[in-house]
Symmetry: C2
Subunit: 554 residues, 2 copies
């Protein structure tokens, strides 16, 4: 049994009704799902006018060493609560598919976890299944429309809407469907994305309320006619039934940390082709309930935090008060060129070569007007000299580096971080603004992110991409934000370019309009929207023991 699982099983969870009551949520707003999960109805929670401070937890570019962003989000929330600050943690829901691929859940670790971990990692409250159903209902209605005569005049070769499944299943990436004769519809090329990559997921996470959800679903573009005009989900009359399928999924989910802090775990879009944050519904609810909301964004700050600021905060009118950049000595050493096998050995020189990565992420977050603290997530192999090297590099920027041991020590291990974050909030220095204005052209929005965040020297737009962006603008989508899909491993589009590269060119290969979510996706490099399973998937080792406990999931 892994340590994470052993710690989780040893914890005594409190009834979710008690967690809700302590968070100031009236009983009539709580819909229990089992003993330790609940859905919350924001409409039944009185608005006291309270608006908490929003704290974003982001990280350096991810590496194989693991940075512990979710763990730090949980630890910081627990620590703030233990110090008497009424705090809500807002996390993304994990995807089911990856649980069966490479071992590992997405509920934190050590003494900084949300629970119940098996349930959150598997079906949870059914949100992702509802999203899968809504996605595939639209596909079924689309193909049904073709089957019965294609009154809308869709060009079957120009259908862009794909089916979805919450599974790592490479075999479904490219399929031909509709085979077997006239009774089985119109044969055409199609494919499946993993559910977190569905535009329906992005929509659910950006919608203010059910009415906004239904309207956004209607704007989804499923494909085009021969004349280039778009056909939407509303044209297919699919938006209402999709919204009906998603009604309960729109309600934020309440769970608890192992230390009894409340946590809203809701929504989980990809951080490449989508914006990688938990739902607007959960975050805004959290801000109504707590003095501080701690939330995280996917991947490194160049991808996740940029989209958090430029997409989520812009759309929802949120204004963060402070930012935590999570780093580890090990990940910085990897950025400095150390091999994975040598991570346990002190190597201050390599560390110093990797440190520019964290420095740049810190500078970037300041460009959004946010005060920053660096959380150095401690591993036992880190030496004092290494920790000192990180501190020294950040001190000239006036940024504090706080050593955290919440994995081992829970709230106590993040108390210093909590005090530093509280000081930033109380300092009131945040002057948040997205990095570009709505009025910029789509190309200029991409250029701005590339220049200000990625530090690219240029962006290459093939003529076909430029033309397509102009068509989006002509169709009335010029004011939406851009969502750049590139590798998470580098500031650049080249995953091998670690550290803090400059002078690189961002190659925009393809652009897509997510009209329902309300952003334009710019694809730079290969982007995987349906993972595969490894040779020996984790699923092979999962089973139920004699008492019905799930073994081998983590």
């Amino acid at each position: 049994m892994s340590t994470d699982l052993a710690i989780a099983r040893a914890a005594t969870l409190q009834p979710i009704a008690d967690i809700a009551a302590r968070a100031g949520i009236p009983a009539e707003a709580v819909e229990p799902y089992g003993r330790f999960k609940a859905k919350l109805d924001p409409a039944r929670i009185p608005d006291t006018g309270r608006r908490g401070a929003l704290v974003l937890v982001t990280g350096i570019n991810p590496t194989a060493a693991g940075e512990g962003k979710t763990t730090t989000t949980v630890g910081l929330g627990d620590a703030l609560n233990s110090l008497g600050t009424r705090t809500m943690i807002c996390l993304r829901e994990p995807s089911l598919g990856p649980c069966f691929g490479v071992k590992g859940g997405a509920t934190g670790g050590g003494r900084a976890q949300v629970a119940p971990m098996e349930e959150i990692n598997l079906h949870f409250t059914g949100d992702f299944h509802a999203i899968t159903s809504a996605n595939n209902l639209l596909s079924a209605m689309l193909d049904n429309h073709l089957h019965w005569g294609n009154e809308l005049g869709l060009d079957p070769r120009r259908i862009t809407w794909r089916r979805a499944m919450d599974m790592n299943d490479r075999t479904l990436r490219d399929v031909v469907a509709g085979l077997g004769g006239t009774g089985n519809g119109i044969p055409r090329e199609d494919g499946f994305d993993i559910t977190v990559a569905s535009e329906v997921m992005a929509i659910l996470c950006l919608a203010r309320d059910l009415a906004d959800l239904q309207a956004r679903l209607g704007r989804i573009i499923v494909g085009h006619r021969r004349d280039g005009s778009a056909v939407t989900a509303a044209d297919l009359k699919a938006d209402g039934a999709m919204a009906a399928l998603l009604r309960d999924a729109m309600s934020p989910n309440l769970v608890q940390t192992l230390e009894g802090s409340p946590a809203l775990v809701h929504g989980g879009p990809f951080a490449n082709i989508a914006h990688g944050c938990n739902s607007v519904a959960a975050t805004t609810l959290g801000l109504r309930l707590a003095d501080v909301v701690v939330t995280e964004a996917g991947f490194g700050a160049d991808l996740g935090a940029e989209k958090f600021c430029d997409i989520k905060c812009r759309v929802a009118g949120l204004s963060p008060a402070a930012c935590v950049v999570v780093a580890t000595v090990r990940a910085l050493k990897l950025n400095g060129g150390v091999g994975r096998k040598d991570l346990d050995r002190e190597d201050v020189a390599a560390l110093r070569r990797g440190i520019p990565n964290v420095v740049r992420h810190v500078e970037n977050m300041r460009r959004f007007g946010l005060p920053v603290v660096v959380a150095l997530n401690h591993f036992t192999s880190d030496t004092e000299a290494e920790v000192a090297a990180v501190r020294e590099a950040l001190a000239p920027l006036g940024v504090e580096t706080v050593l955290c041991t919440h994995w081992a020590d829970g709230a106590a291990g993040a108390a210093d971080l909590a005090r530093a974050v509280s000081a930033l909030i109380e300092g009131g220095t945040a002057r948040f603004a997205p990095i570009y204005g709505d009025e910029l052209s789509l190309e200029d929005k991409i250029r701005t992110v590339a220049r200000e965040i990625y530090r690219a020297s240029a962006v290459s737009f093939p003529p076909s991409v430029s033309a397509r962006l102009r068509r989006f603008e002509e169709a009335g989508f010029g004011r939406v934000p851009v969502c750049i899909a590139k590798t998470q491993y580098s500031f650049s589009a080249d995953p091998a370019l670690l550290g803090a590269p400059t002078g690189h060119v961002l190659p925009v290969r393809e652009v897509r309009l997510s009209a329902g979510a309300g952003f334009v996706v710019a694809i730079c490099g290969d982007v995987m929207t349906m993972p595969g399973l490894p040779r020996s998937p984790a699923a092979e080792r999962i089973h139920l023991d004699a008492e019905g406990n799930i073994e081998g999931l983590f």
Copy 2:
């Protein structure tokens, strides 16, 4: 708004904890899912030794007029409870897909409904989504196995395991997957069945407990090698992870009727290629909790009740005490050749031509050793002369015909039926036995059902089918029951042959081994395992209103 929906919305539901408490279920066994649904943990419900009487509700061959089997099951349960008999209702869970096709849910109607109807008809407690996931995890692991070298030597042309989706989507019936190059697996023909047609559904409904579930999942045959030997889910090491996905889905779901009776709504396999009954887990739990359990079987008695007796009762060691055959004057008139438009006009002659259908179903249920009562589900257009004709036809058999008005009157409308059923139970005349013994050959089992239930004069087995059945026997599956898939509209395999045909030949076109479920499927005629949507699907009219209510679902 339909009358059913208006009645359902006007009802005040009781907290599910109160329903559970009145049914004798301790609070620690109740896992709430929202306010009005719960999952029950049978292991936390003390066994008092009580074993209630099992009453099966079945029907004549279904027609477009509707017979009201679920409605009668609910009405009878309500009536028994109102007369002081501690009664549990056991129903199947409805499938999500058909909700979007042709208007209509599967939660009863009028004042005889289970609630909350929208939630039960949509995602409910997630059981079907869990089944879909487990089915598709097996597919993903199978294709992953091929991708990484096919160590087990599966013949890709002999793979019989298909993917599943809970959606009416004809376009997915036949697909080619694995396209797009070496990174996307091995191209092969595949297809999707609707979730209720998945063997995983049948397994969940027949498994005694979690250990039995995991063992049955492991026995699923996914395909064969070139030498003809079978490859199972256990060979792919998929059984454990599938069981983990299904752990919570194995717990029966508790809801209530509009009159406050407890109802276990759990599992819902097809009644053609599977056995068409709710779960063994729910039925056996109901029998421990109540003096009477009222349950239903799918389609007409020739399909649903036969499989209830020969598969479910055999496997689970159940012994029903009485049987209700539901009929309507309208459906019998259709069986007698009346057109749908003329159903409102009195036509005793046509009715008399259709009555042999109900007579034969009654005789058949007696062949299983069950005392029978006929429930005549009343429509306002039925005339006294018509009702009298039905009574007169059944009286010589010593079978009572009870007029029921539970749709309009709730429990009071089924009180006479409840008294008749109670009398049958108290009479103690049931001598239940399946229609064939385990020791018969597979061919002889099919012949016995064809002769005794369908009244066919012969069964035709093509040589390839006979050879396949022999191979099943040689592989050790000779003692399992048979599950005959044929049209539900006739005793024969010809849907146009209404009434009570004789002299027909049952053509067995194909046989399949459901080794995990534990039966051999004999396919006679066309069997649809993935429905399509109509030209104007119900989904087009479903939407959320300004208050977030789902409109247009019924």
